[in-house]
Every structure is written in C-alpha cells, then in structure tokens.
Assembly symmetry: C2
Homo-oligomer: 543 residues x 2
C-alpha cells in the first residue's frame, strides 16, 4: 500500500446498513427482484456438450450480484441467444441438466442466494427490441450520436419494432417479475437501464403496492434531443418511468434533464424541479442521482496482482527503450462518443507548439475495437487511425509519439493507468465513465477530464476540466498536466482517491435501498441533489 | 378579399400604442437606437459610379424600418463590404456624395426619420467575426447542425477569431451605440441577433442607465448543445446577454433554454424560471418570448398583385396538363435544417403505400439554393436530389410526382402557396419559420408543421403536427391533410389566419416596446409565457 492509500485509510464501508435496509424492505420471506436486459451470467456449451457460464463484466453485474450475499435475490433477464434459451429451458426442467446448471451458477457466484430467470424471447421480437430500438436508436439518441439533419429516420420499421419488439420484451420481463412477486407482501423491484423503460408500467398495473426503482445507466439528454422521437414514443417512455417510485440517473444533470422531459412530454404531470419529484395520477415519483462506481479495494488488489505487474514490467522496459518519456494514457473503446479523435488532435497541436515534447512524452492509448460492423463506428475508427498515422509519421514504434495497444487486455489497461503521468478521459457524452474512477485508485496521474463525462460531477474539483470539443483547451490542459508540480499532482490524486473511496459501488447500492426504504415508510428519500458540476471549475479562457 | 378574410375582418392594429410607448421611452428629443450586424440597406455602385441601395429582405429589416415612421431612429450596423465601407465614409464626409446617398436613403425608406451609421470593420476582423465565429460556429451550434463526435473542433483559430474578430466587432458596434447615446437622457437600444451577444456588456459599462433589449432571431438550444463551447465563451455569451434589461427570444421553449443556460453557466446568477427573470450583480434581467411575424395585409395585397397572378396562371396551366392533381407545396432554402430530405422520403413512403396518388397528387418544392460553397450544404443538396430522382424516375416533367422550382422567385413562392392543398413545413430546427405564417395568410391549405419550427408554439392547435425526424408520421399527416374534409380544412385555415393576424409584425414590436416602457418605470414587463407547445397536440401513435 502506497502512502496515498495509507493516508486514505479509514473504516471500510461495512455491509451492515445495506443489510438493514434489505431486511426492512423484504421482511422475513421476501426476495429482492432485479430485472435487466442481460443477466449476470451468459451460458454456452462446449463442442462436447458441456455447459459453461461466463460472468458479465461491467458495474451493473458486479454491483448487483453482491446483493445475493446479503439477501435472497431473484434476477430476471432475457435469454440472449440460443444457448441462453436452452439453459433457461433446462433450468425450468427439473432434470439432470438443471442440476448441472445450478452447480455452475453456484460455482460462478458463490455464497449467494441468487435465482436466475432468463426469459426466452422469440427471435424476431428480440431482434426488433435489441437490434432496432434499443441499440441503434435509444442508445444513439441518448448519446447524441445522430447527425440530426440526416438521422434518425423514424419509419414504419422502427414503429413496428417498437410495438412488436421493445414493448413485447418489456411485457415479458414484467410478466416474469410479477410471477416472482406473487405471494410477496410488498415486492421490491430494481429495474435496470434503457432496455426496460416500459416494464414498470406493466408491473404497477398489477401490483400497485410494489416498490419499484428504475436505474438508468446511460445519459438522459435534454428535451431537444428527445424531439426526434414521435410524441407517442417519448410520452410512453416518460410515463413508463413514472410508474416507478424512484427514477435513478447517473448524475444531477441527467436528473434535471429527466424532470424537464417529463414537464415537456407528460401532459398531466406536476413537476417540482427543486423538490426533485413529480406528482402524477395521484402518486409521487422521486428523481435521484446515484452515480455508479467501482470497488476500490478489489481494484487496488488487482493492480498489484502478478498479471498486472508483468504488464507493468513490459511497459517499463519499453519506456526505458524510448528514453523514459512521460506518459499520457487513455483507456477506452474506440467509439465516437469516447472522443479519441479530438484527444489525438489536441496532442498533435501540443506537439506542434512544443516540438521538444516529441522526445519526452508518449501518448499510450489502450483501445478496444467496438462494433466494427456499424459503419459509423468503422468510419470513426478510420478517422482516428489517420490522425495517429499523421502524428507518428515514419518514426520507429518506440519513438513514435502515439502508442496504440490492445484494450481488450484488462491487465494491460490497469498497468498503463498505474504508470501514467497524465490520464486523459474526454468523452463527448458518457453516462458515467469508470476509467476516470479507476485512474483515481490505481494511478498517481493528473486527470484531464471532460465535463460531459458523468464522472465530472464528482471529480471536477480535482481534475483538469475541459469541454470535449475544445481541442485547444485540451492541448493546454495536457501541457499543464505534464508540467504540474508533483506536490500539486499528488494532492489532487489524494483527494480524487478519497472521493472515489467514499462513493464506491456499495455506496451506490446502499443509497438506492435507503431511499426505497424511506419511500416504503411514506417518507421523502433522503438522497438529494449531489453537486453542481458545470459551474464548478474556472474557465480556461479570459472571458 | 375572400370569405375567410372577410370573417377575420377586424380593427387593424393601429400604431397608436406603439407611438405612445415610443414617446414614453424617448421623451421629446431622444432617438431610438437599433443595432444589428447587417443594416437595412446595402450599397453598391454601378460601373458608371452611380450609387444604388438595396433594401434587405427578412422580418428584421421589414419590422424595424417601420419604426422610423413613428419615432426618430438611428440604426447602427457593420459595413458589409467595400461598397458599404465607401458609402459609410461618404455619408460622414459632408460632400456631394453624402447628399446623393441621403437622397437614396430617403427614396428607399420614405417618410422616415432614420439615420444610418454603418461602421467600417477591418477586413480581417470582419472575416473572423462573420466567417469563422458567427456563421460556421454559432449558427451551427444553435441549429444543432453539428455531428458532435466530429464537429465542432474548437481550436486556436476559433479562439483567435473570437478574441480578434467577434469581440472586436461587438466593441465597435457598442462604441457607435454609445456615441449616439451621448446627451440622451436614458438611451433606448434594440440589439439584434447572435452576431452581437457581447455588445450590451460594453454599452452597460459606460451607460448603466441605458434601457437595452436584445432580440435573438435564431433558436436557443438546450444546455447540452452549448457544452461544445469552452467555458469562457459560453459564459461570456450568457453574461453579455445579462447586461441587457430584457432578453427576447422567438419562443417560450428558447426562453426556457436560455434560463437553464444561465443557471448552468453563470456562477453568480439567480434564476427564477417561473418568474422568467434572472437576478445578477444587483440587476434584474427579464426573459421574454416575442415571436416574430409578418405583415398580413401587405402580404395579402402582394398575393393579389399582377406578378403573382401571372405565376398562378402558369402553375394552373401546368396543373391542368397534369390532370388537375392535388398540390402539396413546400417553400424554403435547400439547407439541412429545413429537412426537405425527410419530407421527400415521407412523400415517397406515402406513394409506396398508396400508388394511385402518383396520378392525383404533385409535390411542388419551391427551393432556393443556399450556401453551395459549404460542403455540408452541397452534400445535403445532393442527397435531396437523389431522393427526388428516385421518386420521379423517368416520368415526363408534368407527370413526375415531385416538381422542383426555383425558390429565388418570390412571386412564384407566394403563387404556389396560394394554390396549395397542403403546405409542408417540417424543419429539424428553425428559429421561427415565416413560411408557415405566410401560408396561413395566402392559402387555404392544410398545414403540416413540425414541432421544432418556432412557429409551432403559435400554430400547433390548427396545424397537423409532426416530429421532424418522424418520416412515418409525416407520411401519415400528409395523407390526412390530402383527405381532410373541406369544412375542417377551412375551419383550421380560418383560425390559423386569425392567429397570424392577431400576432403580426407590429404586435411583435409593440410588445417589446411596451415591456421596455414597463422596465423604465421600474415595473415587471407585462409579457409572460405565451403558450405551452409540445404538450399541446395529441400523439399520432397509440402510446
């Protein structure tokens, strides 16, 4: 443990509160019901017919499976492919395969009282839900990825996919939730993300007594962005969400945007933006920010693991060959919203202004390929490669200013962050961005962060903040980060790390359950507006 | 006068109120000061050296030059080109050319006490202001025309253009305003549009007593869209506008977006969204919507003029050759924000579903070319032509479903609107859109209107409303419009026309001066939120 961690040493957040809230919510015999599009495990069979299970990555699964240690959990999801559907059928069958699968689940998720219910969805409905509505449409709208004068085109195919895909999947998931809610005194349901905007309405219709919280993992943009949806769709989405007791977003800005959306699109809703709630059809709906986070201890331990140490040694050797330059690091998927393009252009501008940095700095991008089948993504990746080629020219690999490494190697990503002098996280739009929080835990780097990353609300005061489109300001901040005195840098790292440790993944979960427990007692959920991001940092320009 | 106009017959809005407000504001010897980027006249010289003046088109000039009949007006603007600069120098010279130019101004703008002050701007500053900041950047940001993951790139060139172009022009215009304000008891200043966001701050610094209203002709998008600007720029813009007494926007939605922007970007501002004002540094700034309009009587008279009648006869003859089909009309510049592309695709979808309409309907687009030098615009125009070619195939011109005619011919545009059965106005983003209001005055057509046209706030209840991206819904509304029973259609036209007659160009101006007069007496400006657009019309989809 280094001295920064030593200074941050404090009482680990214990699971006691979480257990208390769960007990208050579930009573003696209740089971918490979690529903998400993708379940915590995906199943496959070897050629020999043997079942295998792979645990999903990402905060959602990491956070929610831990609940199974503290309380009985039933997790409803869609069966994602043929193997999932077969596993789902076998789990319901009562034969030998069922036992084998239950063993597998216990092995993958040990010590948990977790029941999985993967609902089979007809292939066509699934494709409409996932391949037409959720990913190429809602995800794009909410990440502002459309060029509005060309896209999207809301046509009969989309409307049809909404009615016979998105709606159907939401109904099937809600149906499963209702089955599990049967016999429960007051069922408690945690709905996840943009695939399930309509599920709460179906649940509420049958169980007015249910306690339902929907947490949305992706951004909620301003009213302007939602105007590309036909009235009927955007109202259905808002009204679907208003069937919850609590709507949770990643940031206060998204919560504000959600409140404005309800004000604009739901005729009979009364919105109280300061009180952060909506009155609608005799019910009160609370709107709260629950910024998702990471597990700092687990990550810190992983960063000291032999696998990561090996990668660090390799990187150190390469840096030595290059004359021990300073290291700027970015870690992300190569996709338009992450903004690698402007990041590299900013670096290029900095090198033009300060050519001597070509020797003394390397920009290491650990990037994984993302959706290469989407033409938008492929075109974007080509534009990024073009800038990299322009900057690197014919230099030999170690002397080239930009190093591109494979981001599917998580060991390498953590090793790179650990060795960084500067970490650049500059998404155009990003629900939260956990790399910024990982960097705070494993590195001693100055963090250059765009304000449109959800993480900015938490980290703005100790990161160097930029506007994502501002290549000029990004170049300036990279320079400032590279030249930051060590004591200032370490002071910032210390405060960033303390903040991430305070607001970790368990905190994210605890606040949701605390708020639900308050609602169940007819009280106002205690979580309120967290902080005010955009005004928090000073301009980089003189007026 | 047809029977619809006869029913609408009412007291013409008289100029009495306007004159009263002007008298109250200006006292005995004051002159109203108007400042805009472009002045009401642009000057040129024939080869023989003779001076000519051309009156600007558009609502701004039309509206504001009328002020000169009611009160003494001084109009400050930038000299747009070499001839303007020469005219500007000559006007200040006191020689024979000065007299010739003054005669020219009196001839073009008769019966007015109007003094023009065109300020010369150094060519480089002008190019930076106009060619880098205002048009390719601010106009694009405010019309949401950027593909966010590629554009804009805020680089040193833009920052430099801001500091040494935009700022300079604003200072020069403010300086001119201050010169004219000298000796005035309490100068009254009307600032126009997005070229002059900073001018009020310069004026206020010297004349804390000035009454200043800034009216913005283009949209004010949500906070999300402004995040592409560096902090310093967006704060400077908001603070510049807060130096006014009243900030006027085209619609309530833009006014709301402006209030949210101030809340997000100006650290020490207290925003009261319901009271529609801001408290900042000891002053109160009122935010109001003044939807710009047209002159219905003048337009109705023009629509009966011989030039327009000739065009109507030509069109009628062509329609007869085509077998007297029904007529859908659109009139606009061929540019991305106007959304011709989705309009034609919607028409194509309708023809696929109802092939018999190929015989009985024509879609006449009166379109003018816009900025063909901008590659975005050229690419968009090519995409539009491709759809038109696909729909028309090899049909002979009169039998082709889509007719493209030259939109630079205003006689033709008004003739086409006059003969239309359906008028389609479906911009993705549009500050106001006066074609929708012109159609209400000259045609008996059903109006299909997108909610993202500023005019939607006024016209939503009697137009057929669509979401601009919703090709499916647009096709449906075109069909409904074509088949609308005559009595329903005429009822809608009657109400649309009455609304446009009530809220005409003089009403636009009167409300601004009434509000300024209230502020001058220390009262709250009486104009409040006008109406609630987006919730006003029913969904086209069953939830």
């Amino acid at each position: 443990m280094d001295e920064i961690d030593a200074r941050n040493q404090r009482q680990q957040p214990d699971a006691g509160h979480l257990r208390d809230y769960l007990a208050a919510l579930l009573g003696n015999d209740g089971r918490l019901i979690v529903a998400s599009n993708r379940g915590p495990l995906s199943f496959s069979r070897t050629k020999a017919g043997e079942w295998q299970a792979k645990r999903g990555s990402g905060g959602l699964v990491t956070a929610l499976v831990e609940l199974g240690r503290l309380a009985p959990v039933t997790w409803v999801s869609a069966a994602m492919d043929r193997d999932d559907r077969a596993a789902s059928a076998a789990l319901a069958s009562g034969n030998g395969t069922q036992r084998a699968l239950l063993d597998l689940i216990r092995r993958e998720l040990p010590g948990q009282d977790l029941r999985l219910d993967m609902r089979p969805i007809a292939g066509e409905a699934w494709q409409r839900h996932y391949g037409i509505v959720s990913n190429p449409f809602l995800w794009f709208v909410q990440h502002q990825l459309f060029t509005l004068h060309y896209e999207p085109t809301v046509d009969d195919r989309l409307i049809n996919a909404w009615q016979h895909g998105y709606r159907v999947v939401n109904e099937l998931i809600a149906e499963a939730v209702l089955e599990h809610a049967q016999g429960q005194r007051r069922p408690v349901v945690l709905l996840q993300d943009y695939h399930l905007y309509l599920a709460a309405a179906n649940i509420r219709a049958e169980r007015p007594d249910a306690l339902i919280l929907h947490f949305n993992h992706i951004p909620w943009p301003a009213v302007d962005s939602w105007l590309v949806l036909p009235q009927g769709l955007r109202r259905a989405i808002c009204e679907g969400l208003l069937a919850n007791d609590i709507v949770g977003l990643q940031t206060d800005r998204y919560a504000t945007n959600f409140l404005h959306s309800v004000e604009a699109f739901v005729r009979d809703a009364e919105v109280d933006p300061d009180g952060r709630h909506v009155r609608w059809r005799g019910r009160t709906i609370w709107v709260r920010a629950y910024p998702i986070s990471i597990e700092p201890d687990a990550l810190a331990a992983f960063a000291r693991s032999p696998a990561v140490e090996r990668r660090k040694a390799e990187l150190r050797a390469r840096l030595e060959r290059a004359g021990n330059p300073k290291l700027i690091v970015r870690v992300d998927r190569l996709e338009p919203s992450k903004n690698a393009l402007r990041g590299f252009i900013a670096f290029e501008n900095l090198l033009k202004r300060r050519p001597e940095l070509r020797k003394s700095v390397r920009f290491l991008a650990v990037q994984s390929v993302s959706r290469p089948d989407l033409s938008d993504y492929a075109k974007y990746a080509a534009a990024v490669r073009e800038v990299v080629a322009r900057v690197n020219g014919m230099a030999d690999p170690d002397q080239a200013p930009i190093w591109l490494l494979d981001g599917s190697d998580y060991d390498l990503a953590i090793a790179a962050l650990s060795l960084a002098d500067v970490v650049l996280v500059n998404p155009v739009v990003d629900g939260m961005n956990l790399v910024a929080k990982e960097a705070a835990v494993v590195s001693r780097a100055a963090l250059v962060l765009s304000e449109t990353a959800g993480a900015a609300e938490q980290l703005a005061s100790d990161a160097l903040m930029v506007s994502a489109a501002d290549v000029s300001g990004t170049a300036e901040m990279l320079e400032r980060a590279l030249e930051m005195p060590a004591d200032e840098r370490l002071g910032r790292v210390r405060r960033l790390r303390a903040s991430v440790r305070d607001e970790d993944l368990q905190w994210w979960l605890t606040r949701q359950l605390r708020d639900l427990a308050a609602v169940s007692r007819g009280r106002r959920p205690p979580s309120r507006a967290l902080r005010d991001t955009i005004r928090k940092f000073e301009p980089t320009l003189p007026g």
